[in-house]
């Protein structure tokens, strides 16, 4: 890949190295970049390679890198051994409702926190921040008791109703930060034209916040797709399982079928990676917005 050409293919010509140590550090950086890229990527290659091996070949030492024979049927076996189709549908229902809830209610609350002045606002925003630092593992047991009293166990309700109440501290915080970057003059102009606060929120702020809304939608979807502890606590009958619970129970029932487990794991990971490549910009934006501007 051009290493022999004394680095000209890699080193940006705009930044000409000035001294020997600069050249040394440039090469060191390049070496470390490639080294850690290999470290990061190898588990993925190993996952893919193992998922395409026969049960016999997977237990072979030393391991094969390129599966021989190639067994793409593993994916078919794995995904039909358990009703992954119904898991997929359930996950889409839960994730879809979560996305709708979060996009609308978190932006609604965030508008109040970002743009309206009223006594008690900072107190309540302090509580938003406090819940941001409290993981929901703390509340798992008592929430379960409340939801079981409501008769919601083994339904999607404990997973989809709470997000409609504010959509989570993280998302409120993120939307508030975003709203604060939109010039107040736009909202004032609308108010002078007779627009109510709801109108300002709905017709001005939401359309201007599409990037932030897409970001929180993606993160909410991913969370629902990946979450195990919530669905595992509340969903009992296999008909209601989401992908995460389905995959976990698949693992516990197919102890030594590593080929099938890894095929199923790959199949569950691929949509996430695909989503990442389609919406890379929003991913990075979301991660960055949480960390900065605090």
């Amino acid at each position: 890949m051009g290493f022999s050409e004394s680095g000209s293919a890699f080193v940006d010509p705009k930044r000409v190295a000035r001294s020997r140590t600069d050249v040394f550090f440039q090469w060191l950086t390049l070496f470390l970049l490639v080294f850690f890229a290999v470290v990061m990527v190898t588990p993925f290659i190993w996952l893919l390679s193992s998922s395409l091996k026969t049960q016999i070949n997977i237990f072979q030492y030393p391991p094969q890198l390129i599966p021989d024979p190639f067994v793409p049927e593993n994916y078919l076996y794995a995904l039909t051994y358990k009703p992954f189709g119904s898991y997929f549908r359930n996950t889409l229902i839960v994730a879809g409702l979560n996305v709708v809830a979060v996009v609308f209610t978190s932006s609604f609350c965030a508008y109040g926190f970002a743009r309206l002045q009223f006594p008690g606002r900072d107190f309540w925003f302090g509580i938003v921040m406090a819940t941001l630092f409290l993981p929901y593992a703390v509340l798992l047991v008592p929430s379960f008791i409340i939801f079981s009293r409501l008769g919601w166990v083994d339904t999607f309700l404990p997973l989809v109703v709470p997000p409609f109440f504010g959509g989570g501290a993280f998302n409120i915080f993120l939307m508030r930060q975003f709203f604060r970057t939109i010039p107040e003059e736009i909202a004032d102009a609308a108010r002078i034209d007779g627009c109510s606060e709801f109108g300002v929120y709905w017709r001005i702020m939401l359309p201007l916040s599409k990037p932030a809304l897409i970001t929180i939608a993606i993160f909410t979807f991913l969370f629902a797709w990946n979450d195990l502890i919530g669905p595992m606590t509340y969903l009992r009958s296999p008909d209601n399982f989401t992908i995460a619970v389905g995959l976990a129970s698949f693992r516990s029932q197919t102890d030594i079928h590593w080929d099938l487990q890894l095929a199923a794991s790959t199949a569950v990971t691929l949509p996430v990676i695909l989503l990442f490549f389609l919406a890379q910009r929003y991913f990075i934006q979301g991660v960055v917005m949480t960390g900065l501007k605090g």
Partner: protein
């Protein structure tokens, strides 16, 4: 949509509209503010305060879900003090946190500096470094269980290829913690990206000024990068600590708390106490314990480290 500043007479017949029109402008503003944040307030009362009260009440009761809860006074708290499994679980969680958080922080910072380099194809490197952090937790657990497999796993293969011993990563209580640290550190992409954004936010002029003053690489890192990055380092530290106390999926699926309870992380212990042993009262006490630990930890981090953070624009 009951509120319109320019009212039409026809709407005056609605009770709500009449009430609203009686309010002063200031009162309307307050009302409007609370209307907007109402979903959060309701959610806080229902899904945070409500459960907290339930947990407070249950802490003094014994309840297995079937019979009626029985008041037992401080029994659950006494039990907590003399519970060797809880002590083990706390030890595991704290050791993991103390190792994985600083290590993950340093590694993420190091990687962020690498992918901040001005070389070609840097976008590809950034993507590769970030990808591990988005692998779904369950798939990630299965993948690492396979990587750490003693006989056929890739990691032992590499170690043996270099003449090392065959390590029982997931069977040996002395090694399993390191295995968990490794898989955690592999997924530091999120904090790495936050560091990267921070690095890119440092004005280049600071480095130029430092260079003119004769600062070398090391000094520029020490006296420009680190102080400028301190709020972000602090943020990642807090998030890292909180996440480290929540290990659940990997502990459940890779080792199921074993070997010899060496990976019985606190959240897994709470989950089992509640849903396998059906001890809801005791599990509530443990939930309060987790809450207290996180509060204490946050307080200490803010008190002792937060005060050393450099903010360029205080009050922003």
């Amino acid at each position: 949509m009951t509120a319109q500043p320019l009212d039409k007479p026809a709407e005056e017949s609605f009770w709500l509209v009449r009430q609203y029109n009686r309010l002063t402008l200031k009162q309307r503003r307050i009302l409007m503010g609370y209307v907007f944040i109402m979903p959060f307030i309701l959610g806080f009362l229902l899904w945070w305060l409500g459960p907290a009260v339930v947990a407070g009440w249950l802490a003094f009761h014994k309840w297995n879900f079937l019979a009626a809860p029985k008041f037992v006074g401080l029994f659950n708290f006494n039990k907590m003090l003399g519970d060797p499994i809880l002590a083990q679980s706390l030890r595991v969680t704290i050791v993991f946190s103390a190792i994985s958080v600083p290590l993950g922080l340093v590694f993420a910072f190091f990687l962020a500096n690498l992918i901040n380099a001005k070389v070609r194809f840097i976008a590809i490197f950034r993507t590769i470094y970030f990808l591990p952090s988005i692998v779904p937790a369950v798939a990630n657990a299965i993948l690492w269980a396979w990587l750490f497999n003693t006989e056929f796993g890739l990691i032992n293969y590499v170690i043996r290829a270099f003449g090392g011993p065959k390590i029982g990563w997931l069977q040996d209580p002395n090694w399993v913690m390191l295995a968990f640290v490794i898989l955690t550190v592999w997924g530091v992409g999120g904090s790495m990206i936050i560091f990267l954004a921070g690095l890119q936010g440092i004005p280049q002029i600071f480095y130029e000024a430092a260079e003119i003053d004769g600062a070398g690489r090391w000094q520029r890192l020490l006296y420009v990068t680190l102080p400028m990055m301190s709020p972000i380092i602090f943020f990642n530290l807090v998030i890292g600590f909180i996440n480290s106390f929540q290990v659940f999926v990997s502990a459940l699926l890779i080792t199921n708390g074993g070997p010899q309870r060496a990976t019985l992380f606190l959240v897994l212990h709470i989950w089992r106490t509640a849903f396998s042993s059906q001890k809801m009262g005791y599990a509530s006490v443990l939930s309060w314990l987790l809450f207290a630990i996180l509060m204490l930890l946050s307080f200490m981090v803010f008190r002792y480290i937060g005060s050393r953070v450099y903010y360029e624009n205080p009050g922003e």
